[in-house]
């Protein structure tokens, strides 16, 4: 307890409540950015695992039995190709089920949907995919090969963009926190100039004075961070409840990784350490210009 005693009346300063409140808001925003980043990453990971090593072959509807013949030829070629582990025609009922969340079921029976063949690749290298595509095209010229990697790469690009924005938010929040502490500390230095002068007269080093400000900033920011997380927890729960009501075909359920929860739990400590360092450096710099 003795070590926590402060020679500066910082506890009574108005800047303490201001810093705590602001850190609470900043940690709330940072926590949101962390969750968005983790969610998008987990979503892409799930998609990536789901489509890795697979292709979809679409055979468009043609007049008469032409499309059935092309489907048969494509299946035959695929089943004999060395790069293909398996090829399965997706039943019409399954296709209808996949599309139902998007276009409803009222008009489903009237739509001329293409035949879909799920292909599981034994060798998913680009050269093997190209060879499979060429073989299928030769057997069924109207067939369209959908390499999931193409759209997945685009979605991954979007995810990376969202992740970059989330990272930028965290950087901005960090800068805002540091600036808040710097200005609050400067205000306190002015407010307690006479106390600091006496501390110097009795032999206090700059580090002693800076340590008092730093400890106070650490406590204020940590408590503000805990309050920010306390606010964020119900907000996250509320969003999770809303998300659970959305059809999983549109918004798949994603399990956030343990690292995400660890990052959230560490936010108050990180905010506290950042505040402590900012206050310490600010005080030392300010005092270094004195006698």
């Amino acid at each position: 307890m003795f070590a926590l005693r402060s020679d500066l009346p910082l506890r009574g300063g108005g800047s303490g409540r201001f810093v705590g409140s602001l850190v609470m808001v900043l940690v709330f925003i940072a926590a949101f950015a962390v969750t968005v980043s983790a969610y998008v990453g987990a979503l892409i990971g799930d998609w990536n695992r789901g489509v890795s090593g697979t292709l979809t072959v679409q055979v468009p509807v043609a007049a008469g039995s032409a499309s059935d013949a092309q489907v048969a030829k494509a299946l035959d070629v695929l089943s004999r190709h060395p790069a293909v582990a398996g090829a399965t025609l997706v039943p019409r009922a399954k296709v209808d089920e996949l599309l139902k969340p998007w276009i409803g079921d009222g008009v489903m029976s009237d739509l001329p949907l293409p035949a879909l063949i799920d292909v599981e690749m034994r060798d998913a290298a680009p050269a093997a995919v190209a060879a499979v595509e060429a073989s299928v095209k030769a057997a069924a010229p109207a067939a369209v090969i959908d390499d999931h990697r193409v759209w997945l790469d685009r979605v991954a690009g979007l995810a990376r963009g969202i992740g970059a924005v989330a990272a930028a938010i965290i950087v901005l929040v960090t800068a805002a926190l540091a600036l808040t502490i710097i200005f609050a500390t400067r205000a306190s230095l002015t407010e307690f100039a006479q106390v600091i002068e006496i501390l110097h007269v009795v032999g206090a080093k700059d580090g002693y004075v800076a340590g008092q400000f730093a400890r106070r900033a650490l406590v204020q920011a940590f408590l503000g961070g805990v309050a920010g997380l306390a606010l964020y927890a119900p907000a996250l729960g509320f969003v999770a409840i809303l998300a659970s009501r959305v059809d999983p075909e549109i918004l798949p359920a994603v399990h956030l990784p343990p690292l995400h929860w660890a990052a959230l739990a560490l936010l108050p400590a990180v905010a506290g350490i950042l505040a402590m360092l900012s206050a310490n450096i600010t005080v030392r710099r300010a005092l270094s210009s004195k006698v």
């Binding site: 003795f2 005693r5 020679d7 009346p9 009574g12 006479q194 106390v195 002068e197 006496i198 501390l199 110097h200 007269v201 009795v202 032999g203 206090a204 080093k205 700059d206 002693y208 005092l287 270094s288 004195k290 006698v291």
Partner: protein, 243 residues
């Protein structure tokens, strides 16, 4: 009685002869911003275990001279040699260590209002990292010595002017300083309290501290036979005891 002050003419930077417990000013000048020099070419040496009054008219620069001595200011020219070290260019961390061997009493006390009398007196010890049990023992003993054993837990606002002054003096002497520098310490108390405070300073002098007291109180100067440093027009003159 204590050895007399030695007003000297030395070239700035001359630190020869400075012993460990002396305070020397060599060709010191002090100027605020672009104003005139408040101290001009001051050279003197305060030997160990000495006692001086610092006198002079108001505005002569007594407080400025004291602030140079307790290292709150650096001279604009010349050198200040304290405990054998040229402190004019010393690093801030070193100045802090040297200040721990000084005790300063201000005319306006400068007690910390948010602290109790005990904590105000304990401040120099805590800053120096003294163990809590030693702080408790020494501060309690000192506050008893100055007659404030019943006021330890009170804040300065709850103390009389004389009690505040005694707390300020206790804070200045608690770390057993080699130099006690007091700026008008009896300026805000009646004659009885002033006499009692002077006796405290004399006690500190007897146990080994050098004491310099800036004062306008002629009766005190006359009553206590200590030499004077008279500051006028930026120049310090030595006046032997009794004159």
């Amino acid at each position: 009685m204590s050895p007399g002050p030695q007003a000297e003419k030395k070239s700035p930077g001359d630190t020869k002869g400075a012993s460990s417990d002396t305070l020397s000013l060599n060709g010191v000048g002090l100027q605020y911003d672009d104003g005139p020099e408040v101290l001009a070419d001051v050279s003197l040496t305060i030997p160990a275990r000495s006692f001086y009054f610092l006198t002079g008219p108001s505005g002569a620069g007594k407080t400025s001279l004291l602030s140079l001595m307790y290292l709150a200011k650096r001279p604009t020219r010349g050198n200040v040699i304290l405990f054998g070290e040229n402190v004019t260019e010393a690093k801030r961390g070193r100045l802090a260590m040297l200040r721990r061997r000084l005790g300063v009493v201000f005319q306006d006390f400068r007690l910390l209002d948010h602290m109790t009398a005990f904590d105000n007196v304990a401040l120099p010890l805590r800053v120096a990292g003294v163990a809590p049990n030693v702080v408790q023992r020494d501060v309690t003993e000192l506050l008893k010595w100055v007659g404030l054993e019943d006021e330890m837990g009170k804040h300065p606002a709850a103390l009389s002017g004389g009690q505040q002054q005694r707390v300020a003096i206790a804070r200045a002497v608690v770390n057993r300083p080699k130099f006690i520098l007091a700026d008008e310490p009896t300026g805000n108390v009646d004659d009885v309290i002033a006499l009692r405070l002077m006796l405290l300073f004399v006690e500190m002098h007897k146990i080994g501290s050098s004491v310099i007291i800036a004062t306008h109180n002629h009766s005190l100067v006359e009553r206590f036979a200590f030499p004077r440093l008279h500051l006028a027009d930026g120049v310090v003159t030595q006046i032997p005891a009794g004159e």
